[in-house]
């Protein structure tokens, strides 16, 4: 099993004729993802590398049965792309685009909730259920579909997730599903939305949470783990050395008003029984120990 996406997920790529969209549509198909349609306004009726292109998402849903979308359009148009997908009845919307204004996301998350859709991102690497479905930009071959045990991953960053997954895969620990939730202050799905899904997934043996400085999503995650989860959870928090008041790349990664520090988050994780990796090089070994493999 996996969460959110599987081998039956039918994907529409919004912005398929752009450089990014085109490249990653091909990569996703090569991984085995069912990419059934693309959307580029004005290019409806054409084909892009064998995939039918439509003017709007609703048509892609009607004609090709798309139930998930991935967004590669520029930041100034990305919010509209999210809303269009939600309106068309898409169940899972994955927004890769970075640089979307925060107040646009304030509106988008409400609209998406009203339409009962699930938004992942923006500013994220996407989601992958190894061996079944990749809707994102991550390097598929770093991930492992079968192993001694399976963990779920939830992360606020991209390349740090690949680093963590590599460590896990090398130790023979597979991944049930990995979700990059994005580094912006407001994102569609947060740790507490996804942890219960992993708790309910029979094939997930434990969860690895990769957080970073800023906000208090990690603290909320820790409390949810303590209150509601039976499966073991491990965590790493990036940004121990980040100075207050400076935005560390991600719009959300900022320590403001003395809140959102890594030290604070690590402490709450520990208090809630979550195993914390001391350094980014110890993510794999921390999970192995948590799953009693080491």
């Amino acid at each position: 099993m996996s969460i959110i996406v599987d081998q039956n997920t039918r994907v529409v790529v919004q912005g398929i004729t752009g450089a990014e969209g085109s490249f990653h549509a091909a990569q996703m198909k090569a991984y085995g993802t069912k990419v059934v349609a693309g959307v580029t306004p004005g290019k409806g009726g054409t084909q892009h590398e064998g995939t039918p292109v439509f003017n709007g998402v609703a048509e892609a849903v009607r004609k090709e049965g798309a139930n998930a979308s991935i967004i590669f359009v520029p930041a100034s148009f990305a919010t509209d792309a999210i809303l269009e997908s939600a309106d068309a009845g898409i169940a899972v919307i994955i927004c890769i685009t970075e640089g979307i204004p925060t107040l646009d996301m304030v509106k988008a998350v409400r609209y998406v909730a009203e339409k009962k859709a699930r938004l992942i991102g923006p500013n994220c690497p996407g989601i992958i259920s190894p061996g079944k479905c990749k809707i994102g930009i991550m390097p598929g071959d770093t991930f492992l579909s079968e192993g001694k045990k399976k963990v779920g991953l939830i992360s606020r960053s991209g390349t740090l997730t690949y680093e963590a997954v590599k460590q896990l895969s090398e130790l023979g620990i597979a991944q049930s599903t990995a979700v990059g939730i994005g580094g912006d202050p407001i994102v569609g799905s947060i740790f507490t939305d996804l942890l219960p899904l992993f708790e309910a997934d029979p094939e997930t043996d434990g969860v690895m949470v990769i957080g970073e400085i800023g906000g208090n999503a990690e603290e909320d995650a820790a409390r949810l783990v303590k209150a509601r989860m039976k499966k073991p959870v491990a965590a790493f928090v990036a940004g121990m050395t980040a100075p207050p008041g400076r935005r560390m790349g991600h719009a959300g990664a900022i320590i403001s008003g003395g809140k959102g520090t890594a030290t604070e988050k690590i402490q709450v994780f520990r208090e809630c029984g979550v195993a914390v990796a001391q350094s980014p090089a110890e993510i794999g070994s921390t999970v192995a120990k948590m799953l009693k493999l080491a």
Partner: protein, 389 residues
């Protein structure tokens, strides 16, 4: 993006927020002229992108234009040290000269985006003038919060609840409500990430005035506020960070001596962390993102090397979509160029992992350059730290 107090007040005034009469001055002479126009006691306020200016001597009153010129002369050019500037302080280049106000009451008002409820929230407190974080820590019950639903805006009953809780009198209610509406409108229309009035004062005459104001603007929304670009004051930023931003590099200077170049913000922070964990101190944050080509790598190296504290560099790239062999070629080309310019003065440790990492290693070895190639994140961090000790 941070902007100056005088800029924030100009913007807020457009939204109907009452601010003291005043203007910015770049010279003592200008300060005198502004004081003459105002025609009464003025306050001369240093304009820097940091708080705590009063305690550091950056805010002073002047009874007449002569005084204003004298005070401005002392403030402009001074090195202002506050709890937010760090011990090195900040050079003052301009002052805001505005009419002095008489204060009957001081309040706090602010708007930020609340991540938990995914909407803006208005924060108010009867304890104005102080650091709001301090009030929140010592007496959290004194902080009032009203969520702003993006579909409805701030509602009348919320305003009534606030005015009652803050003890606003019936006579002041209209002015107070107008000011709050102006602040919230400004936050939304200008795409702010923070809009703060602290203190908001009530004068003995019952006027409600923004005595100090701070606006932070959302960098991501600049594309639809082209006029905001001219509000940027690069003099308030680190010169290396300004240069990096011109090359579309995400660089932040820190205090240590291990320079680092990484792809991805999370991995860049984690790389800084592991350098510290291994006993070193990171000199910077640098995310080259997905564009790890020869140009980006070269520009990144140049900026890192301009920091005289840097004694070694660690490159940590995890190739996903970015192929390591291309990054390696970029590193080799950039290193050769910098060598010709005589600019490579510190050892270079490179860790490449992920897509095409093997080919990348071969490229580095074949180059004949003095590049220390290490596998594994921890080993690489340990190596670069050992080179400094």
């Amino acid at each position: 993006m941070k902007i100056h107090e005088y800029q924030a007040k100009e913007i807020l005034a457009r939204y109907g927020v009452k601010v003291p009469k005043g203007q910015v001055a770049f010279t003592p002479r200008e300060a005198r002229l502004i004081a003459e126009i105002i025609g009464k006691k003025v306050v001369v306020k240093a304009q820097i992108h940091a708080g705590g200016r009063g305690k550091g001597g950056g805010i002073r009153t002047a009874d007449n234009p002569n005084d204003a010129e004298k005070v401005a002369h002392e403030i402009i050019g001074m090195n202002l040290v506050t709890h937010q500037t760090g011990p090195e302080g900040r050079k003052v280049r301009l002052v805001l000269v505005e009419e002095a106000s008489t204060v009957a009451r001081e309040l706090y008002l602010g708007v930020v985006v609340d991540r938990n409820t995914a909407q803006p929230v208005l924060i108010a407190s009867a304890e104005g003038g102080m650091e709001i974080e301090e009030v929140a820590r010592k007496s959290p019950e004194k902080i009032l919060r009203e969520g702003i639903n993006p579909l409805t805006g701030l509602l009348s009953f919320q305003l009534r609840r606030l005015t009652a809780a803050l003890g606003i009198t019936k006579e002041q209610t209209k002015a107070f409500s107008a000011l709050i509406s102006g602040l919230v409108n400004c936050f939304v229309k200008e795409d702010c990430t923070l809009a703060e009035i602290n203190p908001l004062i009530v004068t003995p005459e019952g006027d409600v005035v923004a005595l100090d104001a701070k606006l932070n603007l959302d960098d991501n929304a600049l594309f639809r506020h082209l006029e905001q670009a001219k509000l940027r004051d690069v003099n308030e930023e680190d010169f290396l960070e300004v240069e990096a931003s011109q090359h579309n590099l995400n660089y932040i200077r820190l205090d240590g001596n291990v320079g680092c170049m990484v792809n991805g913000a999370g991995l860049a922070m984690a790389t800084m962390d592991i350098i510290k964990y291994c006993g070193g101190e990171p000199a910077n944050f640098l995310d080259v993102a997905g564009a790890a080509n020869p140009d980006t790598v070269g520009n990144g190296f140049r900026i890192i090397l301009k920091d005289p504290k840097v004694k070694a560099i660690l490159v940590n790239i995890f190739g996903g979509i970015v192929r390591c062999d291309r990054v390696a070629s970029g590193i080799v080309q950039a290193t050769r160029e910098l060598q010709k310019e005589g600019k490579i003065r510190v050892p270079l440790v490179v860790r490449l992992d992920g897509t095409n990492a093997k080919e990348a290693g071969q490229i580095l070895r074949d180059s004949g350059l003095n590049i220390i190639e290490i596998q594994g994140l921890k080993a690489a961090a340990e190596k670069v730290v050992s080179l400094i000790k």
